[in-house]
Symmetry: C2
Subunit: 364 residues, 2 copies
């Protein structure tokens, strides 16, 4: 496992698994052998990713009985129908409950594969080979899996932890720049939530990161994933502190929903969502406005949006926010900041206030 | 909780919940209040059951915000499409992740409701109010949930434990006789597997049971459920001993599949499956044939089938058995008996042998 530059461990109490970060991991047979030996393996990917990276997997993929399915690209295909394609393939090929699914791709491939694994024969193993920055620092870690429903994002899903995650930073070289930058939004969110030093480091090193400097990327990913692992270890099923990770997401999902899934990238919506959370925090919790200025500058350097897209407003967003999974009773549970690296859940029953602050933010 | 005559507790390590057995439980508000207070509740049932038993639930159901959905009756509707109906209803009504689903019905309603609960917003609570004997002694207990796929029964599902199970024996008075008898097949299976005294008791008391004698029913259900609870506590996810509960089921599922789901009742297929398992055990493990004779007599008294249905044979059954969830590698994992109350998993790679014993059994 020569290319591994960092190894982290997730331990949820009931499940324990490694996360490897490094270079040339996809072609490192020794990394995969313990997971793939003596079982049926189905690799799940999409056409653009498979074209680039399937040849690297070839040595261990091409064993007898293993198989590949390419699923359609994009958030609009993150649906039950796509899962049904996978289940159909597994059943038609006679895969039993000892099989392994391998997600090779971004967050959408990972979320769908994880959910397909969670429900196939009441749960089979899967591993994550995330190829987008968003998937590497966020969605591949922690066991949240699922698909969208016309009435809401990620509404159908399961908690299902992978057996292993291998993050090969070389995949970032073929990732579209826009997607790379959207992934940075989740990294910035983690720093905002938990780690002031990391936020400083991001401000200082953003140019090197955008140039895909390898040492910077490894540090960035390791630090982000470690922060997430710390939270997942405490609260796998999001009964408590894990909900903090939704900073910017209640707003972000609403923006995605208003625009139509796929029009605005998830990370882009989260970037705007974090700014909205900062603004609300300033108005209601007295957060120092200088943090929002720092955040705006960092997002600007990443070429990430800072303004609500046309056609999105407080009234439309509120309709979606009311259906958010994180709500309880009549409250919308926002994640707000008292200061950098000091966040809390803020149950808010004053829906008019939420709407007003969104619309105020549009005008400043 | 005046009507409760027995309370058992399931403890899987991670989850602990009660099973109440008795009379007039459905109308006992004190039983439900702790589970239903201050949350959105959706009752899931089907037309025949709702007609009989929904009025009994009325006092606690009619709170503001609660709701009912009737799903189509029968195994052919135990599909993802039916789950999607439920998810659509939940989302359209704005149900959040603190909601409760209530399964009021037989095993199909319970399995679908449990799976819908497992996947809605990555898992919400549900309770089981089983109204068929099969659901009461078997499917409502232990957290197996799921739906069928055209290529196999229960292939899409999850382990998801309920918050509570309330078994009201009065529902057995409106259960069609054929379904009651099919449920007895699972009870007989449990006795065959684990409890020779209980098997004796069944032989002695079968007339009283068939007359729906209340004390006999409570004893029958309590004993069956306790045997299942013992196993689930040891092995929730069917990594080991829980697989023994599949006695007669690998054969049974194949019979159901060959006939088309719903033509032969699950319990009827299991009855024949247990006889096939006995026959195989006689041939390969030296099981005393007298047990099969006792079993045949008991099944006869219950008016349960003892012969393979027309159109079903070893070759056809083997095709389905090869896709069974319980298989590992190239083995079909049969559950066989060395003696009454002494069972074991028997991995069998000799598919021709399995087929031959089925066809021999057809001719004796």
């Amino acid at each position: 496992m020569a290319g591994v530059q960092a190894t982290l461990t997730v331990d949820t109490g009931s499940r324990r698994y490694p996360i490897f970060i490094g270079e040339k991991l996809l072609s490192d047979e020794s990394l995969f052998a313990p997971y793939c030996a003596d079982r049926q393996v189905l690799v799940i990917s999409n056409a653009p990713i498979a074209e680039h990276y399937l040849p690297k997997l070839a040595p261990w993929l091409m064993q007898a009985g293993n198989s590949l399915i390419e699923i359609p690209t994009g958030e609009t295909h993150k649906t039950l129908s796509t899962c049904e394609m996978i289940w159909q393939k597994l059943l038609a090929a006679g895969f039993n409950r000892h099989c392994l699914l391998v997600a090779l791709g971004g967050g959408i491939v990972g979320d769908i594969t994880g959910f397909a694994a969670a429900c196939y024969q009441r749960g089979v193993d899967f591993i994550q080979l995330p190829t987008s920055l968003l998937a590497q620092v966020d969605s591949s870690v922690g066991g949240k899996t699922g698909v969208n429903h016309p009435l809401g994002k990620n509404m159908i899903g399961a908690f299902h932890q992978p057996q292993m995650v291998a993050i090969d930073i070389e995949t970032l070289t073929t990732l579209p720049k826009r997607e790379f930058r959207a992934g940075l939004a989740e990294v910035i969110k983690m720093a905002l939530l938990f780690d002031a030093d990391f936020f400083d480091w991001l401000e200082t090193n953003i140019e090197a990161i955008l140039m895909l400097d390898k040492a910077s990327l490894v540090h960035l990913i390791r630090q982000s994933v470690q922060l997430k692992v710390n939270i997942v270890a405490q609260d796998e099923k999001e009964k408590g502190c894990r909900a903090l990770l939704n900073l910017g997401h209640t707003y972000g999902h609403a923006i995605e929903h208003c625009q139509g899934f796929g029009k605005v990238l998830h990370g882009e919506a989260v970037a705007i969502g974090c700014l909205l959370a900062c603004y609300f925090s300033e108005q209601e919790l007295g957060l120092d406005p200088s943090l929002r200025k720092r955040l705006q500058r960092l997002l600007y350097q990443c070429d990430l949006p800072r303004e609500l897209p046309l056609g999105t407003n407080g009234s439309k967003m509120l309709e979606t926010m009311k259906r958010d999974k994180k709500n309880s009773q009549d409250n919308i549970n926002l994640v707000l900041l008292d200061a950098l690296a000091s966040a809390r859940i803020y149950p808010c029953s004053d829906l008019a206030l939420i709407q007003r602050h969104i619309d105020e933010y549009r005008l400043i």
